[in-house]
């Protein structure tokens, strides 16, 4: 089943390596890769690096080591270890760890020596110089402490293992070792090594076994010292052993001694028999020489070995074995923050497989659409394609039109039904109006459906795009324009004339949009009264046709003058800044005023866009010029104001800076000029509303950027859409 796979390039696109070789010196040779049992040392190193990074506050940034870690592959932990080995500071940290080990060793040796010496001392003092030796007293003094601590160790081990880390000899030794290391070596590496060793040995099973080993070892040395001293003393001096008691009796001591002696006997030590025990009771000083000193000394030494030394030795062996096992089993905890922060660098979430089935190139050319004949005489047909029933009702109200209502369809069966109905019609309709939703993406499916409609029925098509508001809510304005553009492209692919593709939002039907529909179908609605805004927009389109390239300020001023005349004819109010004094000397200042006030009317969001700001300022300034020329009819080009225009606009755009010298007015391109004129017209239309309301209105109406329009056709479409939105919003703002 593996067809269609090209050779998959396993490129890790997420983390492309930098090129380190050119800039930095060659990386140091990695510390020799250890095998097998040295893995624990690796982990310790990785922990030290983590501690170092944590104390520094920032990750060590070495893309080289990271790249090698990624290439090495494996689990996250393995990559961490790999990275740790290849960092530059690793050598320092290894050294610091080694120094810590040495310090520990020194302290250990010292402690061991101390323990041994203590044992020797204890042994000698226990026996004393007196000839008579109280067996149990000696045993007690020598064994009590070791046995007690052994019991303590056992209890803690089972009940509160964590307390072991502070209450044992081992922990004291390790703490001393750390102190020594601190005293001997300073620096971040040493600090990190210490912290790492605390982290690794301070918490878990490994640490506990290590402490136990040290503790048992020290006690074993102590007991060994005792034993040695005892043997030496007993070899060169003569003692007679006895036992004595005040509250206990013979009956308790004999079985006790026999019981205690059982194990040493097994091991080969000579122990006193029952009679000998009885006979050894203290009778007072200077009695007959005690019996069987050999047996008693055997008993003494044997108990020391069995109840003191042996357990410690066994536990020491166990601890060492467990240390070995645990160190093999020790794993880094990748959940620690210090490691987690390395995850994005070492462990990508995904790697690319590349393109598996490549793009073959552009789509095959769509089949040429059949020529649309206008021979149909029947009423226009109406078809809704994948839309929801609009809120204006279905069919949409358009005056005096008898639709042939084909309904709203979206399935294959319905489509076939429509096709047969259209083909079989006795009186083919003169136009098929297809209503599609702007919110849907125009795709090949819709294209093919439209093609079939046109081809199989030979009825000319018209395309009405609705649900613009729905799309606007979802997307931003730029997406909106793009979507309309795609639909227009689809229309031309299918062979629909550009004038027959319109955007009418059926959910917000206004008289203007109804007029658009009427125009589409070919019936001019007689009751449509062209408002001042319609006239103004028509003027803009006319002028746009005349402007060959980017319009100059004079041409724009002329347009605005004519717009103003439209409104003056209908006796609308003028904005305050257009009430000019008529004094030519003050005109310059009034220009600045006008530019600034217009810019201030723009909503904040648009003021941040430099193009809108320029547009707005120009509108204001040109508006003043237009007003001035209406007051005193003078040819626009003859005005001496043009020098002031640039300054006025610049001042409006950067209120903080005083413009110096004569400035050129900003050159607006076609889209901006059209937007400027439209803004002017709408401002005149909105007179009577408060400034705040006007700003809000403009905020909801205008896109983020002035449009980029290429020709008069695009201008007409844009103004059309703007007009409809204007109407829809106007309903909400009644003065």
């Amino acid at each position: 089943m593996d067809f269609c796979y090209t050779s998959a390039a396993m490129v890790d696109r997420r983390l492309t390596p930098l090129d380190p070789m050119s800039a930095s010196p060659s990386p140091p040779p990695p510390t020799p890769v250890p095998q097998g049992s040295h893995e624990f040392a690796d982990r310790l190193l990785a922990e030290s690096i983590r501690c170092l990074e944590e104390s520094q506050g920032a990750m060590l940034d070495e893309p080289d080591a990271e790249r090698q870690a990624r290439e090495a592959g494996g689990s996250f932990e393995q990559r961490l270890l790999h990275r740790a080995r290849h960092l530059r500071v690793s050598a320092d940290l290894q050294r610091a760890l080694g120094q810590l080990r040495w310090a520990s060793l020194i302290i250990l040796v010292l402690a061991g020596t101390l323990a041994f010496a203590a044992g020797l001392t204890a042994g000698s003092t226990a026996l004393g110089s007196d000839e008579d030796a109280n067996v149990y007293w000696i045993l007690g003094s020598l064994l009590s402490l070791p046995i007690l601590t052994l019991l303590l160790w056992l209890v803690l081990w089972w009940l509160r293992p964590s307390a072991l880390h502070s209450l044992t000899l081992g922990s004291a030794v390790l703490a001393l070792a750390r102190r020594l290391d601190r005293w001997l070596h300073q620096g971040q590496a040493a600090w990190a090594a210490t912290r790492a060793s605390v982290a690794v040995f301070g918490g878990g099973a490994l640490g506990r076994w290590l402490l136990s080993a040290i503790t048992h070892g020290l006690w074993a040395l102590f007991l060994g010292g005792c034993l040695l001293m005892l043997v030496a003393v007993l070899a060169f001096r003569q003692y007679s052993f006895y036992w004595e008691t005040t509250i206990l009796s013979e009956q308790s001591y004999v079985p006790l001694t026999r019981g205690l002696a059982w194990l040493p006997e097994r091991l080969g030590f000579s122990t006193p028999g029952v009679e000998q025990i009885r006979a050894s009771r203290w009778e007072g000083a200077g009695q007959a020489p005690r019996l069987a000193p050999g047996a008693w000394s055997g008993f003494l030494l044997g108990s020391l070995v069995v109840y003191g030394l042996l357990p410690r030795l066994l536990l020491l062996a166990l601890s060492l074995f467990m240390i070995h096992r645990e160190s093999r089993r020790y794993r880094l905890d990748p959940g620690l923050p210090g490691f987690e922060r390395l995850r994005p660098r070492l462990l990508p979430v995904a790697t690319s497989l590349g393109v598996v089935d490549p793009d073959p190139g552009p789509n095959p050319l769509p089949p040429t659409p059949a020529p649309q004949s206008d021979v149909g005489t029947g009423p226009p047909a109406l078809l809704g394609l994948e839309i929801a029933p609009p809120s204006c009702g279905w069919p949409p109200p358009a005056q005096d039109i008898a639709w042939w209502d084909l309904g709203i369809i979206n399935t294959r069966e319905d489509f076939r039904r429509v096709l047969t109905a259209l083909s079989a019609a006795s009186e083919p309709p003169r136009l098929l109006v297809v209503i599609c939703s702007l919110a849907t993406t125009p795709d090949r499916g819709i294209r093919n459906q439209l093609l079939r409609l046109g081809r199989e029925t030979t009825v000319p098509l018209a395309l009405v795009l609705t649900e613009g508001q729905r799309l606007r809510v979802r997307e931003r304005h730029a997406e909106m324009d793009q979507r309309i553009h795609h639909w227009r492209a689809l229309g031309s692919e299918v062979g629909i004339d550009d004038t027959r593709v319109v955007t009418v939002d059926l959910d917000h039907l206004t008289p203007a949009s109804q007029a658009v529909l009427a125009r589409l179908i070919g019936t001019e609605s007689s009751r449509a009264v062209a408002s001042a805004l319609d006239e103004a927009f028509a003027l803009i389109v006319t002028h746009a046709r005349r402007w060959s390239v980017n319009p100059g300020s004079a041409e724009q001023a002329e347009l605005q003058q004519q717009i103003l005349q439209c409104y003056r004819a209908r006796q609308r109010h003028w904005p305050g800044f257009l009430q000019l004094s008529g004094d030519p000397r003050r005109l310059g200042a009034e220009l600045q005023d006008g530019a600034r006030q217009m810019a201030a009317l723009l909503p904040g969001r648009l003021r941040q866009d430099p193009r809108w700001l320029a547009t707005g300022a120009m509108t204001g300034a040109l508006g003043c010029i237009a007003a001035a020329t209406l007051l005193t009819p003078v040819a626009i080009s003859g005005l001496p104001l043009w020098a002031g225009l640039g300054a006025a606009v610049a001042f409006a755009m950067n209120p903080g800076q005083k413009p110096t010298g004569a400035l050129e007015a900003p050159a607006l391109d076609l889209g901006e000029a059209v937007a400027s004129a439209a803004l002017f017209a709408m401002l005149l239309e909105l007179q009577g509303l408060e400034e705040q309301a006007i700003t809000e209105f403009l905020d909801r109406l205008l896109p983020a950027e002035p449009p980029r329009l290429e020709d008069a056709g695009a201008v007409a479409h844009w103004l059309d859409a703007l007009r409809q939105r204007f109407d829809a919003l106007r309903l909400e703002y009644r003065p």
């Binding site: 506050g57 790697t351 319905d414």
Partner: protein
């Protein structure tokens, strides 16, 4: 029988967000191309999802299905001719026919990929109405004999018709429906998606369980690591102080230095948070308090920043150059600093006489101590908490940038309650601050304090992140 690698095809009508979904799942904002038009993706591109470095799941982004109605018509035409009942063979024959490389090229690519995979994720834009073409698409996919998990995208949008879609899908016998929103990613959206896959794919049960566990662990670790970063920042800033003589020019200079240092430190925290969550600096912007190009736009020390989060500046707040700072001046006597409890001070004095002896000596000689104020600490905490939350939540597909919307989402205790005692401790330990070049590195108590504060912040982060969508 279980195989080593699970292959999943991501399929859907054109422009429903397939590529965006894959961007989110792979944490790669550069994967493929996303545009608001038909036919943006025209090839089949694969990615491997890695679990602990091991590739276990392959996802394939496919071109959108555009003309499924036409395709179904074609398939049924052929069916009538040959009276074929085996749908899978029917599709295979379609793929072998010449029309598959011409008119229905895109659909053919998709179907080939589906046949090469073990499962299909069928992505639906939940804002779309349920139309005939969707039914036809599901029909075609059903004939491919692969388990299909429908994924409803854009469920966070107000227009989403989630309930209607679920009903429709259950009528087509698809009950394991996943919900997603690649713009506003819910905490568990990704997890639930894989859980639904797991419920339909028995042979891959173990594999998918591993993936799900890995995702959960990753999310948890991210939260903890973020909390740790913020804790580190707070400790550094809380402990940082500058000592200046009371003369005015030096004090002004010192204030400027302090502010600059604190700002830089915050910036470093932001950079590290972004890196931790695999984002680039340019990806984050906010509406009400802008972050642009990875920097907080609103100054840390401006009163507006405090207001945005609802923090009150405090009674003794200084204005102007000293805004956001706490200035402790020894005034004729015993004052040991704003907000220092006497008991704690005495205890600290007792234990670390050497450090504090110097502080007291400084004060007696007429120096003053500059620190960041409590309000600033709160603001730092809240900002970074808000950022972390947004980062944990956000998918990698949003073309728009993060909107850090509600200051009210952050822990209320940080706005109004008492500051954690650890921070009070930090104020008494200036050597905890790494911002001070003279600090020593050997603060073991700092590590303990950092862990404590990180645990607290971790709980705050967890508390605010609840699932937005069920099922």
């Amino acid at each position: 029988m279980s195989e080593a690698v699970l292959r999943v095809a991501v399929v859907g009508h054109t422009n429903t967000g397939k590529t965006s979904l894959l961007r989110t799942l792979t944490r790669d904002p550069d994967f493929g191309q996303v545009a608001n038009a038909a036919g943006t993706t025209r090839h089949v591109e694969g990615v491997k999802l890695l679990i602990d470095g091991e590739a276990l799941i392959e996802l394939y982004d496919t071109p959108g299905l555009e003309d499924s109605m036409g395709l179904l018509d074609l398939l049924e035409e052929n069916q009538q001719e040959r009276r074929f009942r085996d749908w899978l063979a029917q599709i295979q024959r379609f793929l072998d026919s010449p029309v598959a490389s011409e008119e229905f090229e895109q659909e053919a690519k998709v179907l080939r990929q589906v046949l090469a995979c073990h499962a299909v994720l069928y992505v639906i834009d939940a804002r779309d109405r349920i139309l005939g073409k969707h039914r036809d698409e599901l029909e075609i996919l059903a004939r491919c004999a692969r388990p299909v998990v429908p994924v409803l995208n854009f469920v966070a949008s107000p227009e989403a018709l989630t309930r209607e879609w679920r009903e429709h899908l259950s009528r087509a016998a698809m009950h394991a429906v996943a919900e997603f929103d690649t713009v506003v990613v819910a905490e568990t959206g990704e997890l639930r998606l894989f859980e639904k896959l797991k419920s339909l794919l028995d042979p891959f049960d173990g594999l998918l369980s591993r993936l799900i566990e890995d995702l959960k662990r990753r999310r948890e670790n991210l939260r903890l690591a973020s909390a740790d970063l913020i804790a580190d920042l707070l400790l550094d800033v809380a402990a940082y102080r500058l000592v200046v003589p009371l003369a005015s020019e030096e004090a002004e200079q010192a204030m400027a230095t302090l502010k600059h240092t604190v700002r830089e430190r915050e910036q470093r925290c932001v950079d590290e948070l972004l890196a931790l969550h695999r984002f680039r600096a340019g990806d984050v912007v906010s509406q009400s308090f802008p972050i642009e190009e990875g920097r907080w736009g609103l100054d840390l020390f401006s009163p507006t920043s405090l207001q945005t989060f609802g923090i009150r500046a405090g009674s003794g707040a200084a204005a102007g150059a000293a805004a956001g700072l706490a200035v402790d001046v020894l005034s004729a006597g015993i004052s040991l600093g704003v907000g220092t409890a006497t008991g704690a001070a005495l205890g600290a004095l007792f234990s670390t006489a050497r450090q504090h002896g110097r502080r007291i000596a400084d004060r007696l000689r007429g120096f003053s101590e500059l620190r960041a104020s409590d309000a600033t600490l709160r603001l730092l905490a809240l900002r970074q908490i808000a950022l972390s939350r947004a980062l944990i939540r956000r998918g990698h597909a949003a073309q728009e940038q993060i909107r850090l919307n509600a200051p009210t989402e952050a822990g209320q205790d940080w706005i109004r309650g008492r500051l954690p005692p650890v921070l009070g401790q930090a104020k008494l330990n200036p050597h905890w601050s790494r911002l001070d070049p003279a600090s020593r590195e050997d603060a073991t108590d700092r590590q303990a304090a950092r862990d404590q504060l990180a645990a607290l912040l971790g709980a705050t982060l967890a508390g605010g992140l609840d699932t937005d969508h069920g099922g």
